[in-house]
Symmetry: C2
Subunit: 343 residues, 2 copies
């Protein structure tokens, strides 16, 4: 007997029912706050005690099968090791957990096929909804989901064309603040190290950059990168510094990683930041203040974006919000040591 209980941890509703001398239905109703009222107080109390004594724990899988709710939501991100995502995930978690939901996080590495596979796997697991932070999702899958009525919220990226709710930071305002700051420092020739153009953030930031430069009569060149990575940023600046003369005095990077790549390139080319070239990042990811030099960047409220995305998703699932809301969270320019007056 002891052996049996050691092997088979499972105590089911039926076990509790038998012990209490009632039907499993009554146990179910007693243990569910929403239906507890249907059971006589005295009975409910007794059942709860027995359930506790027996160490009953509900089987969420069985419940989910019946109720068609898994209380699980899928979170699709490119790469957890990119420091902006952990805060988003934790923000999501912080909203979900107290409400009985759990998150299942998957990494796509920006690969569309992997993404399709992972999303399918999440759907097979009957997730109640999806929070998607990947850029490469113009295609088939998400639009299919929209048709099928799958609940999706975008975070940090917008869905191109598909009217899903989305939570983003105010990238336009961020870029404008950066340009304003650089102009005040006397910069007139600025390079934009743009993020991938198939991500909404990359696109919006570079568009804003161009229009701001035009508006202010600045020389604003844009270089596109494949990925938001240190390597891409470094390679892009390397390419410029290796051949021909540098004309820009400041670099506006699409994100902090690209900016860090710029740091590396400048250093290997004997250029000092900010003395020779000013560099500005975007996101204010962890540790940017500890870089050499401390990085001037735009703070995006990633944790809050996660919270907001989770909130939007649950209200969609509960059928409260049906309109595809777009939430834009404010950003702020963080002045540190990587920008200086133009020579």
């Amino acid at each position: 007997m002891a052996y049996r209980s050691a092997m088979r941890n499972r105590v089911t509703l039926a076990d509790v029912a038998k012990a209490a001398g009632v039907n499993a239905a009554t146990v179910s109703r007693s243990l569910n706050p929403a239906t507890e009222g249907q059971v006589r107080k005295e009975t409910a109390r007794k059942i709860k005690k027995i359930a506790k004594d027996l160490g009953y724990t509900p089987n969420t899988v069985a419940r989910g099968l019946r109720t068609r709710k898994s209380l699980t939501i899928g979170v699709v991100i490119p790469d957890l090791t990119n420091p902006i995502f952990p805060p988003i995930v934790r923000g999501i978690d912080s909203y979900l957990l107290p409400r009985g939901y759990s998150a299942m996080v998957v990494n796509t590495d920006g690969n569309k096929e992997i993404e399709q596979t992972l999303i399918s796997s999440l759907m097979e697991r009957q997730v109640d909804g999806l929070i998607v932070a990947t850029g490469h999702t113009e295609g088939d899958l998400l639009s299919q989901f929209h048709e099928r009525g799958v609940k999706v919220v975008m975070v940090n990226r917008e869905s191109p064309g598909i009217p899903f709710p989305a939570v983003t930071s105010d990238d336009g305002a961020g870029i404008s603040a950066i340009i304003e700051h650089l102009v005040e420092l006397g910069h007139t020739n600025i390079l934009h190290l743009a993020g991938p153009s198939d991500s909404s953030t990359g696109l919006l930031r570079s568009k804003t950059f161009s229009s701001e430069c035009k508006k202010r009569g600045l020389v604003g060149k844009v270089i596109k990168n494949e990925n938001y990575s240190i390597d891409d940023g470094q390679a892009a600046i390397d390419k410029i510094l290796d051949h021909g003369a540098r004309t820009f005095t400041a670099i506006v990077a699409g994100n902090d990683l690209l900016a860090l790549g710029a740091y590396h390139s400048l250093r290997t080319h004997g250029l000092r930041c900010p003395d020779d070239v000013s560099v500005v990042g975007f996101n204010n990811m962890p540790f940017t203040a500890d870089f050499q030099p401390p990085m001037t960047t735009v703070n995006a409220p990633h944790y809050d974006m996660g919270v907001e995305a989770a909130r939007l998703l649950l209200s969609q699932i509960d059928g409260i919000d049906s309109a595809p809301v777009k939430v834009t969270l404010p950003v702020s320019l963080i002045l540190r040591g990587s920008t200086a007056r133009a020579l």
Copy 2:
């Protein structure tokens, strides 16, 4: 009809069976590689085609209920925003995904109650096993699991007293290498900024530190910290530098975060690293090379530790390994700019 299919994405085994004019059992067998042989080739082929045409996707929840396997494993970590954990999680994922498993990651923030709640929630979700990276788990819960036969693997921490398989880095060797390096640089008075003593890593590292110092006849003082955090590290060094004279010429931190805290404290006290004080971290977390100065630290193979932990867990689940294996992965000292010859 179109509306119905739009609303109810679900195509079940029964739907496929009806379309194919066979019993659901036959469809099930056809679609499962392991049982496909039981079905006539021709029939299986036809069924597969119909399943594909109808867009059938298996319901993992229903399957799990019947087979008592969720193909999901729980990953318990303190805090995803601590940069050492994302690589571990990705390592776990990389091993799990190709084998049909998914990971469900939860953050405990080092809080024991939260941990209990989250682990219970994971168990209710019928996870097939647990990978645990939290330190505060001496107690009740995990030992209960051991009795109940729940599959658990520890990663980055060892379970105190409970014989679960564990994957760790060779912290002892790492500390020894650090001391060796500092001795070569002429340091004889070294401070150890130790991690929490209720974590196996914190304990092992500080023990090794003390024994190495004794063995080599060095002055080695140890200061304990509550958490592996920047703030704790900074506060600890602040406390020393604020009152009284500093005697040490080098700091060996329990991890990179504590080391970074030391950086901050030294800077605010007008001390230069490494000129006045050498600092060594532990873990080689991302971006340590970009700190000012670039941090000398010990590289721990976090990604590989994740892979190994997942491997151990699955082999336990499959009943292959039953002995509680301890795997220790090698580390290496990464010399950068935060250590210099003692004055």
